[in-house]
Amino acid sequence: MYAVRLWSVRHARGLNAFYRAFEKALIALHPLWNKIGYEKLEKPFESVERVTKGFLFDCQMCGQCALSSTGMSCPMNCPKNLRNGPCGGVRDNGHCEVKPEMKCVWVQAWEGAARMGLQADHGAKILDVQRTVDNRLKGKSSWLRVVRIAKGLEDQAGNKPKPPAAKPGSTKDLAAVAASVEAKKEGQAA
């Protein structure tokens, strides 16, 4: 809801502090999530995230939440989906070029970041260059993704780390090599 969204930006500082504590807890609970299985958790997490963040921020479920870097103003509500700052079309009254009835998401974002403290590292995250959106993540839980990244289960691009290559010379490998050599021999003999 638009009014709630504006409220959230006014309370960016508190909401960010809350989120940081929440994120810590989520990461700490990794053993539990792991036990249940991340796949299984995706649906319920996604639903909760959609409802709560939808209510507070008009969250669009991009799956790679940037709220902490955008003063708690969801950049996906910008009609141009800008994730790094305002376009040049912002109206004199601070409203959006495309939707004149809406305050520019990025004018809001800078206000929120200022509330979070531009000098402190939290608000200053607005200065980080955000890379392009990964469209494959749309509609997925960004909370679970944060935990998976923190625990090294995947990287920023969503790739799972490659399993460490089997050590050469391990007994299992040798057995496999031996078996294939045997098979070839048999083939030749036949």
């Binding site: 141009k80 305002p86 990025w106 260059v129």
Partner: protein
């Protein structure tokens, strides 16, 4: 290079100088600390190359590079890639504009390679006006990139030699990268910080929106100098002649991001010959702007008034001492 000759072929690529990203003339002029002039070419609604050449001819005499716009104002015209291909073939220095509105990352990265192969030395990365502003409001807005992530992508292609996906390029594009700034739209106090971000993402030169409000520009440039941004990128300020008070009012209300103070509109209204007044206003603005510390040049946008660009630049005096430049450049820079 045809060293020592009085005449040189403008189409011959310039050798890459140490510390330069491109072989283009614009980067050289700016890095030599000269006041640079760029000008926007109004793209034709036609498939006739002569329409492009005629417009380029009047601009090229007075500018260091010609901007090829990419459906600016979300209006359909000949594409920036098309215009650049014509102009580079004829030896003009161009700035290819890329807007994020119409193409996704696959199309744009391909265009960057194609452009560099044609000899485009400068690329200006833009967000792009919303589709609602143009003649095709029913179009699907793409915005796969934003201007900052686009800058970051092309910087990666050029300096790290790979696509966004990580796939290697055999020859990276040698381009000088630009970004747009609009100091005349909110949030005013953060516009310079936003530019710092674009510079961090790879912007090397900045072209601004039309400037009709010098006090606001001064404030912006103060912030720029405070953060030392003028030492990291070259700032070219947008100027242009207003054809009439009526058009000025229309632009103010209908062109996204254009801010024209009422005092300027009044000045236009009071003038007997409004066209001449608009031209004089542009000259006055250039003279005032060029004195601001940290400004490296001007970017002239004369919508449907190309014939004025020459006069405006000559009258403003910014190209003084430059008449000799083209003839001696190869000897002077190699």
């Amino acid at each position: 290079m045809n060293d020592g000759q009085a005449h040189f072929d403008p189409a011959a690529p310039l050798p890459l100088l140490p510390g330069h990203s491109s072989g283009g003339r614009l980067e050289r002029v700016l890095r030599q600390g000269r006041f640079a002039v760029t000008a926007e070419l109004n793209p034709p609604d036609s498939a006739d190359p002569r329409d492009v050449y005629e417009r380029a001819l009047v601009l090229s005499e007075v500018c260091d590079a010609i901007n090829a716009t990419d459906a600016s104002g979300a209006n359909c015209h000949m594409s920036s890639v098309g215009i650049c291909s014509l102009l580079t073939r004829a030896g003009y220095a161009v700035i290819m504009q890329i807007s994020c509105r119409d193409r996704n990352r696959i199309a744009i990265q391909g265009d960057v390679l194609g452009a560099a192969a044609m000899g485009v030395a400068n690329i200006l990365c833009l967000t792009g006006d919303g589709v609602q502003a143009g003649d095709q409001p029913a179009a699907k807005p793409v915005f796969d990139f934003d201007s900052t992530s686009l800058l970051e992508c092309i910087t990666t292609m050029r300096d790290k030699g790979h696509f966004l996906s990580g796939r290697k390029l055999t020859t990276p594009p040698r381009v000088f990268l630009g970004a747009a700034a609009n100091p005349f739209a909110p949030p005013y106090e953060y516009r310079a910080v936003h530019i710092a971000k674009k510079i961090a993402a790879g912007a090397q030169f900045i072209q601004t929106q039309y400037c009709f409000d010098v006090p606001l520009l001064r404030k912006f440039m103060d912030q720029v100098r405070e953060q030392g941004l003028h030492k990291k990128a070259f700032f070219l300020i947008g100027v242009g002649p207003l054809p009439s008070a009526r058009t000025a009012r229309w632009m103010k209300n209908n062109v996204p991001g254009v801010h024209i103070p009422d005092a300027i509109i009044e000045r236009m209204e009071k003038a007997k010959d409004q066209r001449a007044e608009g031209k004089q206003l542009a000259i006055d603005l250039i003279q005032e702007i060029k004195e601001i510390e940290g400004v490296s040049g001007v970017h002239v946008m004369a919508y449907r008034q190309e014939e004025f660009v020459n006069e405006i630049i000559q009258a403003s005096g910014v190209m003084r001492n430059r008449q000799q430049r083209r003839a001696v450049e190869p000897a002077a820079t190699s």
